[in-house]
Amino acid sequence: MSLHKVKVFTRFERFWHWTQALAIFVLLFSGLGVHGFHRLLDFEQLVWMHVIAALGLIVLWIFAIFWHLTTGNWRHYLPTVNGLWPVARYYAWGIFKGEEHPYRKRFWHKHNPLQALSYLGLKLFLFPAIWITGLAYLSYGFWSSGPVSNDTLAWVAVIHTLVAFAIAAFVIIHVYLLTTGHSFVEHVKPMISGYDEVELTPEEEAYLREDEPGRILD
């Protein structure tokens, strides 16, 4: 096992991440406005903003799901308890004592177990929940048939809003965790350049040097 600078975030992955980040901020801003927390724009503009950002994000998700499945990148999100406890202990204790992060990124496990679990939760539960309720909200006119469905709409709105708050909380923690490494910039850089320090097995290194020399810098 040796440490190498390897391209772990492909161009699509980075595009997906940053576009999604932008969309989430637009959605949070417009969603809070529609919800009534602010009216910096009027309702019609906010709704349009929300709908366009949401539809754009859904299209991106469709591509991202395809990408995960076809490239095998879904494996990064496989949950494991192996190494979960040391990471949790680190954030709750070790970090304050100046300990080193216990996890070393590996080629097929670029996220630490806690991170992978959080992203999995986000992708399997929060995103689908907000996606489905959002589409239900948007298509209200097609499934409403009289007054009964208006109560349903209220529930759709309740779930949609609660999930939105949960995603907002995720964004806050996600951004904060970028400060826990050596520096904020160091932590953000891989998602811009694509390259990060990764432990490679000799086989992985040999494969990269032979077949994808562009992905390994040193």
């Binding site: 009289g146 208006n150 609660l162 708050f165 909380a169 995720f170 904060y176």
Partner: protein, 583 residues
């Protein structure tokens, strides 16, 4: 059941000149809520407004003036001499001379031998309609409204808007005598024909009959055509005792409006006459305020099948907005929101005000022993309006008024002279049925008229007042509520306790005219807002207006907890790192 909130809408434009009077009427309105039971004995103090005062009674003097004449916008109406198969001016039957209207009618019915049978079934003639759904007997012959209150017993004045001749008393009038049908009022196109009250009334009112130009019946008879706005408007624009008093969306502005005022009737636009929408055949036509179509599910019907209804949908369809995301979203609304709600943002447009508040309690003040009127409001077109009349009381006007919104399924329950009510709450003259739970209801815009009017304090019913007549009881001329009410009730053998009070009443007038150009339709924000126009319309979840308090609490807790968590975590890291460096 009273659903309306007792406060007055304050959005109406009000000229500074009438502020003192408004202050008084407003405080009266407030007082009346608390002291309804005692209000009858206390005549409010005379208002010293310093406004122009003129003595005497003068009502409806504008209706006898020559009106702008329009041709119905139909193939026939554009150039009748080219398209019609008959030039009435050449008919030997119409060469006259005619001494009166009945002679003209006889000539009309001589050829149009089914028109009489048709018309005597029309509400304009019967003044009566039985609502089969609610079982109520309605119509001007019986109803009490909250303007001049009752036509019943006052036909001598009110029947000047009856489409017949000589109806002095609906109970004795011969509704089968077709020769008394007034064909001219609806069909003549000189704009010079007018009607006067069937009886002279009190001598104080005689001024109303003075100085009218003679009617040239022959000329009027030869001018007959399909009804134009000048015909319908002669009565309907002046309902309730003056220009736009009653409806709010039907005023003399509609004789020649711009399309900004009414996108359909605008002379710079479609230039529709009334009968373009109020379609019909055989002297029966569409558009009823007693039983309106609140939700038209049929729309335009099949191609080539014209529908006999006055709904927006009958021309525009049930999915009227153009294809596209926005169109889809707007079309989503049509099942629960009436077209008028978004497309008529305000009524009483174009410079003619409508009455929005009427206080009968102040009626009967005299100057030098004579009734008088005060001009206290200058409306948009510069014309003064009366804010006080001895014969009627005090008024408040509104222009460009934001409607009141209610769920409505087309069914209305009227408070008639027989209905017993609870006078501690405002009485709804016409209670609107419908709710969010009712799939046949939609949210509709209304003009809500607020009046404080006499009622029978012992029996808790509305009363008929004897307003018009040449006798010592007629209110108009004698100004005595006690005698006028006693006479009005006895005249119809109605129980009367002998004691009258004043009660707050609301009536609701569906707003259907003065449709704005589409650019001026309501924006989403106007309703999808916690403080929006539909704030008071309950029973359903509306995005942008409603939110779940617990969702907000949990959500805010979640976000704040995350923020505090990371802040605390970060702060602890910084503090501990600093301490490590020291040691």
């Amino acid at each position: 059941m009273v659903r309306g909130e007792p406060r007055l809408k304050q959005k109406q434009e009000v000229t500074t000149g009438m502020r003192p009077l408004i202050a008084i009427t407003l405080s009266l309105a407030v007082l009346s809520g608390a002291a309804l039971a005692t209000a009858d004995a206390e005549k409010p103090l005379p208002s010293i407004t310093g406004e122009k005062i003129d003595l005497g009674i003068r009502e409806y003097d504008v209706t006898a003036k020559k009106r702008p004449v329009d041709k119905s916008v139909t193939r026939l109406g554009e150039k009748p001499e080219d398209k019609s198969t008959t030039d009435h001016s050449k008919l030997k039957e119409l060469q006259g001379p005619f001494k009166n209207g009945q002679e003209v009618t006889k000539a009309c019915l001589g050829c149009h031998n089914k028109a009489g049978d048709q018309f005597i079934k029309n509400k304009h003639w019967t003044w009566h309609w039985h609502n089969p759904k609610t079982g109520q007997d309605l119509g001007k012959r019986v109803l009490v409204n909250n303007f001049c209150t009752n036509a019943a017993g006052n036909e001598g004045m009110c029947a000047q808007c009856h489409a017949g001749y000589g109806m002095k008393d609906a109970r004795t009038y011969d509704f089968k005598n077709q020769e008394n049908i007034d064909c001219l009022v609806c069909h003549e196109s000189t704009g010079t024909y007018y009607k006067l009250p069937p009886t002279q009334g009190n001598k104080a009112c005689s001024v109303m009959f003075e100085g009218k130009p003679p009617i040239d019946f022959t000329k009027a008879a030869q001018s007959v055509t399909l009804p134009g706005r000048s015909n319908c408007g002669a009565c309907h624009f002046y309902g309730g005792g003056g220009d736009n008093v009653k409806h709010g969306d039907l005023s003399s502005v509609l004789f020649k409006p711009t399309k900004d005022v009414d996108v359909h009737m605008g002379t710079d636009g479609e230039n529709f006459s009334c009968i373009i929408c109020h379609v019909g055949e055989g002297h029966q036509w569409a558009g009823s305020r007693y039983a309106p179509v609140a939700k038209d599910k049929v729309g335009t019907g099949k191609p080539g099948m014209p529908r006999q209804t006055a709904t927006c949908e009958s021309c525009h369809g049930t999915q009227p907005h153009p294809a596209g995301l926005m169109g889809i979203k707007l079309n989503d609304h049509t099942d629960r929101v009436a077209c008028e709600t978004c497309h008529i943002p305000s009524f009483a447009k174009g410079g003619v005000a409508t009455k929005v508040f009427w206080d009968w309690r102040t009626a009967g003040r005299l100057k030098n022993g004579e009734g008088y009127r005060e001009e206290g409001y200058i409306q948009g077109d510069g014309e003064p309006r009366h804010t006080y009349k001895s014969i009627k009381g005090s008024f408040k006007y509104g222009e460009n008024v934001e409607p009141t919104y209610r769920w409505f399924n087309g069914s209305e329950i009227y408070t008639t002279v027989q209905t017993h009510f609870d006078p501690s709450k405002p009485v709804e003259i016409n209670h609107l049925e419908g709710s969010a739970e009712d799939p046949n209801s939609r949210i509709w815009p209304f003009k809500r008229m607020h009046t404080i009017q006499p009622y029978d304090k012992g029996n808790n019913t509305l009363v008929y007042m004897h307003l018009w007549g040449d006798d010592p009881d007629a209110f108009w001329g004698n100004y005595n509520f006690a005698r006028a009410i006693k006479h009005g009730m006895e005249d119809f053998d109605l129980p009367y306790s002998g004691e009258y009070g004043f009660v707050d009443t609301y009536s609701y007038w569906p707003v259907t005219h003065m449709v704005a150009p589409k650019e001026k339709a309501l924006s989403c924000e106007e309703c999808h807002n916690a403080e929006g126009r539909l704030k008071e319309v309950k029973g359903f979840y509306m995005p942008g207006r409603d939110r779940n308090l617990w969702v907000d609490r949990i959500g805010i807790f979640l976000v704040v907890a995350a923020l505090l968590g990371v802040l605390g975590h970060g702060l602890l890291r910084i503090v501990l790192r600093a301490r490590r460096k020291q040691s």
